[in-house]
Symmetry: D2
Subunit: 183 residues, 4 copies
């Protein structure tokens, strides 16, 4: 029996940068979507994740891949609001649309991050043309491995979904190392 790939939940975005019109996964159905979840003060995001997302955006924009940044703040909320993020996006010249994940009524984890059960930042979520989650991975991903998954999804292939950084441990203290911040 083939693996069952869960449907990607809707994005809960409070505010968009780098796009005039809000993006929805429904409207992107038929295309491959790469969500890059990051925080502007996450060292692994700045060093590895965001440059990789920018490269994927530039390399595959014409090959039906849509790259979306997702600012999933789960620590340092007071100093990483929309104005701080705008300055960050300007200085780092990020070229792709970025949605600010909506804060939860209770707790530090924003809504889209909860819905996707992201383990922290950076996380990459790959969604296939049918709107199903095919990758949901926390931490640094090798370019060659990520490229192969993107290539398979663009070609319509069906790699087994992989999952790293489970939602377990949510109640632990947030912490960052060189590669990732865990929630």
């Amino acid at each position: 029996m083939p693996p069952v790939h869960p449907a990607a939940p809707p994005l809960a975005i409070a505010q968009w940068l780098n796009t005039d019109t809000p993006l929805t996964l429904d409207a992107l159905c038929g295309r491959v979507v790469m969500l890059h979840a990051f925080q502007m003060l996450c060292p692994g995001c700045v060093a590895h994740g965001l440059p990789q997302a920018a490269k994927a955006h530039e390399m595959f924009a014409r090959r039906d891949l849509v790259v979306i940044g997702l600012h999933t703040v789960f620590e340092h909320h007071a100093v990483t609001g929309p104005e701080a993020l705008k300055a960050f996006v300007h200085e780092y010249r990020l070229p792709f649309p970025i949605g600010i994940d909506t804060a939860a009524a209770h707790g530090p984890i924003p809504l889209t991050m909860q819905a996707y059960e992201l383990g922290g930042t950076p996380s990459v979520v790959l969604i296939d043309r049918e709107g199903r989650i095919r990758l949901n991975q926390l931490g640094r991903i090798d370019d060659l491995a990520l490229g192969a998954l993107i290539g398979e999804l663009i070609a319509g292939g069906a790699p087994a979904g992989r999952r790293t950084g489970a939602a377990a441990g949510r109640d632990s203290a947030a912490a960052c190392d060189d590669d990732a911040c865990t929630a």
Copy 2:
């Protein structure tokens, strides 16, 4: 009309390393093949090409990708023979099968290099499951781009064949820079 992909010519191998039985493209039909053409004294091969080939070998061996090294000596023949190559392969711990391209009766360019019209080293040739050439590129290739092509071919997709480093200029003097040696 879709692009026509040329059939991959047979490999003309004088001697194999890292494999007990000689490899043929016919026997590999149905699998995706990555040929990595290199010279042991080519700086761009040592710095970028061979590590990338080794990574692809380790990452996708179970996904129907066969990586084959091709020692296409077109300069310094006297000091890069089989014994020198064996020492090199040992020290660099190259893990994939390597075929020594057969020297031509006339001229410095060996036979497989001629048949594939390789422009120099490092060159990557990707061959699809039907034995057709889908990529033939001289010089450094980004991991994300190479990964996407591998992913498409594994999934059975059909990227447009690309060709860099044409066979023109064959009569020019061989020369290396940081990224490649041209024939």
Copy 3:
């Protein structure tokens, strides 16, 4: 006639992080001082300058080198105040004392940055054991070159002072590239 090295002006620090007692150049007389001027949203500082400063701090702390970070904000003041900087210093685990340069009454350039005529960020200023400026350089500095200057100053040698990124162009718009932000 040997070059004349200007005396290092006093630091005008509004607030210190990572130290219980404020630092003064007078009190550090007799030791070699490396000032690393940065902004938390300067890509070149995050990628190159701050890791280099942290390495120098760890490598030469016992060899009479004092590394001091200088947060010289000349753009994005509203989102790079003390609380934002504290979160940044925490996430990037910066280990050396950091002084926040005092804002000027008029204009975006803070006081210490003005006194040293820094051209932007990252900038490195090396001060010898007699309190004289021996290097004042904007942009990325090679580790081998910086190490040699530090070694000469620790040994009491007298390299010719070099100056890059002059104070000219102060009225131009602030801008960042991969290596530096110019004021």
Copy 4:
């Protein structure tokens, strides 16, 4: 009591490349000398050691530093003779004088390598203006640390000599990893 630095033994060179006249330490007395011991099939030498030596050569040639490559072959002698080395030096565009260490009458370790008790390749030996050994280190050396030692010696300072990779274990089998080959 200050540390005693041993006098640098004479170089026993069978053949020189990249210089018309043989070099001797006696003739270089008064200058700082950096010996870089390498093998052309040593991965750590190719990836780290030789580029560092070339950078030091270019950066400090006018500051009284003389960089000398030392080809200390202790394995794969048959395929790394003078003709192979010349092709290697040509392709990697090594800019500094290189001496081929003289083979011993018995055993694989050449004479200069024995005299300096080098532990393998890459090794860096720094010799001060008085002809004394101030550093003798096997393996990868950080640019910032090496720069500081060079700077101190150029300035005439007196860092404590350090020694890594002792001559012990000479009878063990030669082996390479990513950073070094040990003899």
